[in-house]
Subunit: 402 residues, 2 copies
């Protein structure tokens, strides 16, 4: 149907007009409530209180939800979220919510309600250990990146994939501005801790790392390696001890391999930093570092294992190159992915300090002095990663910079 | 109008149904002749013998013209040629033929007849010196690459540009196969000089340079720097002593900066090699080397000059970085363009030896021994450029490899 904004009042009649949703929910008393924590979209939980079946309805509106109608943002962003979820449901069906219904015209998706899972950022703040997280997320990274790359797809299918995501212009631009640019200079969109005004000025005047930041931004804008989630922070992950789900891929586009990996590492490092000031729980901090180590090692081995199974792709033609030279090529290729991941992680960490979107892990530290120290540490670590990313060869070398 | 294949019989009534063409040609006796030298398309010259006005009609058919209907190739390729010519006519109006009419539905373009110009490859074989060529083609390269890049366009316009060319899949695939793959391995499409059968086998078994060739192929497939002509060899240039025109951009797509530059350098080096065996004209060979030197120096200075005029783009935001760091960034950026150009030049030279599409400069050498020696020299030089491209810093260092 043509686009109309749904509200609590007309949502029920709309979703019950969709046969598979009517069938899924079944007969009974229906309650609908809005989840208020989305920045961009309206999200509702619909529950049949008679049989306890429930689902999520997410709809994009033609403006930024938290900012209101004065901040227009194309609702087409939902198209990319739907398309990414459809790709993920083929490639990593157990690591994304089930999609019950999607309608690009309506900028709407109806999906599984993850009622037994919490947002990972909150779990990390509460020092919850997730023993299987590294295993799950490394599978997510390896499979989604490999199967959308020129190492698996043929040339024509790769360009078709780019076609489906290339127009996600507004959200790519948000990343270009807010991750790579504005948080490093005087800009009205920044949200600077009043206790760090002079530190911010000093930071903005530093230029030694900005050359590398420009390189990373250029790679982000022009390197079409694979389909990215585009915003893979710990707020885009819902999990419990047994299951992990990646949500909210509205920033999806075809970009550099290292960006999702870097985003994830960055958010784990932010949590690591926060616990120097939140909990002083060294054991939990060590679990975070071990998790980063395990994620990367497992990502690399799973990615290479998939690659070894396909000898024909857009890039490779069987018989073209000897195994020895191919292995060398792969080894340099993976090293490059790692280095870029470190660089992107640095940008993702540093931009959280003065930029528009801080992270709760650090910004919500109540003690002002501790918050300030945590922010200065994040800034310093982010900068080091950006400065050194081209020369880092292993997770151990990355940890030396922390 | 909807697509129909034009022939000598129905061409006249078709083009006279287009008001601006009817007006351009005027009244008089019309003759139409087919130019038989296109590989892909049908090309006709239409002349009014009364007033001597003439024009070119070029139409794509849904197959490869030289191979016939048994080799299907989407006629949509003409869309990309039309779009590239339209971009060029804005950015370098004096360096491309004037477009009188274009119709994507009909896969057809009507354009200026360059009757006073010859294909550059023929001029080079005949040892013609073109004193202004380096000046013209460096302007073409600098302006077309800069104005279609993220150094000039904003983020959204850059993605819109990619949209317009991303579906040129078949022709990109031809380059991936024939420039980067098949000419370096046993493949049915190869066209191997019977005198070089054992040398070809020996060459195909070498692997030392293939790792770099894969890197270059990967860059070609995934780096979206700027709008490329995509096939900028000396057969795609028509010129005389005063004017230079670039034609046939049907391979146009958004790809790496170095590819057009590399293609041009490769074809000049092929001519340089051929004259060791064709003319032994050392003075002409020196003119070729001087021309390469001048093209690159002028390209770089014009490109940097354009860049200095725009401080806001998809990449740059005024006030983000100091001039000193920005200059360092630009310097590394240009060095990277040069290195990739050298690598692409190597691939373009070497693939001409055993691959499907040889160059007349070398393949048409009549003396069998000389042809063989020229081919072996091209192979060796191509390989050296591929092997060393990441460490070459200047045109002088490139010449040391010749």
């Amino acid at each position: 149907m043509s686009y109309q904004i749904l509200t609590i009042d007309n949502l029920q009649s709309y979703i019950f007009s969709i046969p598979q949703i009517k069938e899924y929910l079944g007969d009974g008393d229906i309650t609908i409530s809005e989840i208020g924590d989305g920045n961009l979209n309206f999200v509702y939980i619909v529950t049949n209180t008679t049989n306890q079946k429930s689902l999520i309805v997410k709809q994009a509106v033609p403006y930024l939800r938290i900012a209101g109608e004065g901040f227009p943002l194309s609702k087409d962003r939902m198209n990319y979220e739907i398309r990414a979820l459809q790709f993920y449901s083929q490639i990593v069906p157990n690591l994304v919510p089930k999609i019950y219904y999607a309608d690009e015209e309506m900028s709407l998706v109806v999906m599984q309600n993850l009622s037994e899972h919490i947002i990972m950022r909150k779990g990390l703040i509460d020092r919850v250990i997730y023993p299987d997280f590294a295993e799950h997320i490394s599978t997510f990274l390896a499979r989604t990146l490999f199967f959308s790359s020129s190492l698996y797809l043929n040339s024509s299918d790769k360009r078709a994939l780019i076609d489906r995501f290339n127009s996600n212009r507004e959200l790519c631009k948000l990343t270009e501005d807010f991750v790579f640019t504005f948080a490093y200079m005087q800009n009205d969109t920044n949200d600077i801790n009043p206790d760090l005004i002079s530190e911010a000025e000093e930071f903005f005047s530093q230029n030694d790392f900005k050359k590398n930041l420009l390189k990373l931004k250029y790679i982000f804008m022009t390197q079409t390696d694979a389909l990215l989630h585009g915003d893979l922070h710990t707020g885009s992950i819902m999990l419990n001890q047994k299951e992990t789900y990646v949500i909210d891929p509205e920033f999806a586009f075809v970009g550099p391999f290292g960006f999702d990996i870097g985003a994830l590492i960055a958010n784990l490092i932010n949590s690591y930093i926060s616990h120097f000031y939140r909990s002083q729980d060294r054991e939990y901090q060590q679990w975070i570092l071990d998790t980063i180590q395990e994620i990367y090692a497992k990502f690399e081995s799973k990615f290479l294992n998939l690659w070894s199974q396909y000898s024909n792709s857009a890039l490779l033609t069987e018989g073209f190159i000897s195994q020895k030279e191919l292995d060398e090529f792969k080894s340099e290729f993976m090293q490059n992915i790692f280095r870029q991941s470190v660089g992107f992680a640095g940008a993702k960490i540093a931009r959280r300090v003065f930029g528009i979107a801080g992270v709760e892990d650090i910004r919500a530290i109540e003690d002002k002095t501790k918050r300030k120290e945590a922010e200065m540490m994040a800034l310093e670590i982010g900068k080091r990663l950006i400065l050194n990313y081209e020369n880092i060869n292993s997770v151990d070398e990355l940890f030396e910079l922390l």
